[in-house]
């Protein structure tokens, strides 16, 4: 039941193996390139008050990239189906990341009490196609408004950071910029012999048994049909848009209390997941296309708890939830069902089984894994993507001279399912970022989605 930790160390300092989750995400990058002519990218966005110093940011970014070659190292396999690795030794030959400054003629942004207008440039960056094999941090874009405020977005290939790592990277940059640490301080967990990562049994037969158990679990999800907002296996060009919405401090406090009461002090994500399911359900009801069930994966952070974890590479497993649509109408019953499923899955070792399955993805051809993931659900990956990430960069009040007004992660979402919802708190305010495939949603549906979300959050 418990997660054991590895004693394995990295064998070669110039070759950094992808984690299982990295490889899993790399498979979806390959699928997105093949089917949707884009990459599986993520972003992190900061809205900064006047004072942001772009020149200092550019200098520190260069120094940090120089000292941390993983930020632009290409990913290569040893042989056709060999282990996928970051080739740190090839990083000096690689370009980037690019930092560009832009000036916006658009009106300065409001005070975040309404759905926030983000520079369209950011969604364009999310939809770009980069050359195969180019990994890491791709670019940073700063958009300055007439009132001196700046929106800053960092864009990377998703397996470089997960949400946790990307937030720590921002803090790392700021610490380097303020002189609190040297820019050559490579995060500890990426050094050979560094604090241990999550481990799996040494015997491959045991790992294989776990992976097969995971696949059986995944196959079982196909018993009830699923339909995402965008439909299965879209071959359309990826065209994601980003919507950002904030609640007031008073409403945020009320929602946090409600989440804690209904779902538990340490497990508020169950409340937010239930709310997200009901918001999507409302849209499907409006369409007259209610599926038999909703299937959603919940990312689980696998880093050793309470230690300094490495910033780079993704270290997550997934817990899958499946609720019949007949169970969605009553929020209390839905939350009870989600709690029970979570407990049952953890007790059954599905987090470790997922890690074992992803470990095999390191060796498998990308196309095989994409197929295995979509097959049980008739071409769907899931109903939508979801995460609740708690307090966003709690220690980050300023970033290179600009006070941090807001900050949030923008998840990578494939064109199918075409919907990803991430909630987080910042400075006492709850915000949610909805990333969606543009043509898969009608304007009226978005109103229904937002209204249901607000109604359930606030109660």
């Amino acid at each position: 039941m418990s997660i054991r930790r590895s004693t394995r160390t990295l064998a070669h300092p110039t070759r950094l193996p992808l984690t299982g989750a990295d490889a899993f995400l790399l498979a979806f990058d390959a699928e997105t390139r093949r089917r949707n002519r884009a990459n599986h990218l993520s972003q992190i966005v900061l809205r900064l008050r006047p004072g942001f110093a772009p020149d200092a940011f550019a200098r520190v970014l260069d120094e940090v990239v120089e000292a941390n070659p993983i930020l632009r190292a290409p990913i290569r396999r040893r042989g056709v189906v060999g282990l996928a690795e970051y080739r740190l030794d090839l990083a000096p030959r690689a370009a980037g990341p690019v930092f560009e400054q832009h000036t916006s003629s658009a009106p300065p942004p409001g005070d975040w009490d309404a759905p926030a207008a983000l520079p369209s440039l950011f969604s364009e960056r999310l939809n770009e196609l980069h050359p195969d094999g180019r990994a890491g941090l791709l670019r940073a874009d700063a958009v300055r408004y007439a009132d001196g405020r700046t929106d800053l977005a960092l864009t990377w290939l998703h397996m470089l950071f997960d949400g946790w790592g990307s937030e720590r990277f921002l803090e790392f940059l700021e610490e380097c910029g303020s002189g609190a640490r040297a820019p050559d301080a490579v995060p500890a967990a990426d050094r050979p012999g560094a604090p241990p990562d999550v481990a799996l049994p040494e015997r491959s037969s045991e790992r294989g048994t776990m992976a097969m158990e995971w696949q059986r679990w995944m196959n079982g999800l196909g018993a009830l049909p699923v339909r995402s907002p965008a439909g299965p296996e879209r071959g359309a060009r990826q065209d994601l848009e980003i919507a950002r919405t904030h609640l007031t401090r008073a409403d945020s406090a009320r929602v946090s209390q409600r989440a804690s009461t209904l779902a538990g002090f340490l497990t508020p994500m169950i409340f937010y997941l239930g709310v997200a399911i009901r918001a999507h359900h409302a849209v499907m009801v409006k369409r007259g296309d209610v599926p038999a069930s909703y299937v959603v994966p919940l990312p689980v952070n696998l880093r050793p708890k309470g230690s300094d974890g490495g910033i780079f590479r993704t270290r997550v497993s997934l817990l899958w939830f499946q609720v019949p649509s007949t169970c969605v109408d009553d929020l209390g019953a839905l939350l009870a069902e989600l709690k029970e499923q979570r407990r049952h899955a953890i007790r059954g070792g599905q987090i470790e089984n997922g890690a074992a399955a992803m470990d095999f993805a390191r060796y498998a051809p990308s196309r095989l894994y994409g197929t295995l993931a979509r097959r049980p659900l008739g071409g769907e990956l899931c109903s939508f993507f979801f995460a609740y990430t708690g307090e966003f960069c709690p220690g980050l009040t300023h970033f290179f001279g600009g006070a941090v007004e807001d900050g949030f992660g923008v998840p990578s979402v494939p064109a199918s399912p075409g919907s990803g919802l991430v909630l987080a708190l910042h400075a006492g305010r709850l915000g949610y970022t909805h990333v969606r495939q543009r043509d898969a949603w009608q304007p009226g549906e978005l109103d229904v989605f937002r209204e249901q979300l607000a109604a359930d959050l606030l109660g």
Binding site: M1, S2, I3, R5, P195, G264, F265, L266, T267, M269, V300, N301, P304, K305, G306, S307, K339, R342, R343, I346, R347, I351
Partner: protein
């Protein structure tokens, strides 16, 4: 526990004390169990991690707390009701053990913890 409602209070007290002692789960042993599971299996705390250390600051999160509850269930046969997992009860291994101990005692028909625990 079948039939415990039929016991007189004094007998009930003795019965629960006996059950707890048979299983070996005094409050101190429960504290020790929780501390050990957290230190050795679930968290990667500093060397000075003790039963009085703050659990949230030591890295206790949603996954770790569920795994802890499952480990406690495995050892004691008791599933801890999630309503117990309040900020106050999750402050230290000691406070968590005390709340679980009291919960077990209450669920077996008592309204307060065994003061001798």
């Amino acid at each position: 526990v079948h039939g415990e409602n039929a016991l007189q209070p004094i007998h009930l007290f003795a019965y629960i004390a006996r059950k707890m002692s048979v299983n070996g789960w005094t409050r101190e042993r429960l504290t020790d169990l929780i501390h050990r599971i957290l230190r050795d299996d679930l968290l990667a705390p500093q060397d000075d991690f003790s039963p009085q250390s703050n659990l949230i600051e030591s890295g206790l999160d949603s996954l770790a707390v569920t795994q802890l509850m499952l480990a406690i269930e495995e050892a004691t046969g008791v599933w801890t009701d999630e309503s117990l997992l309040t900020p106050e009860n999750l402050e230290t291994a000691e406070t968590l053990a005390a709340s679980i101990y009291e919960y077990v005692a209450r669920s077996r028909g008592r309204t307060s913890a065994d003061p001798r625990g």
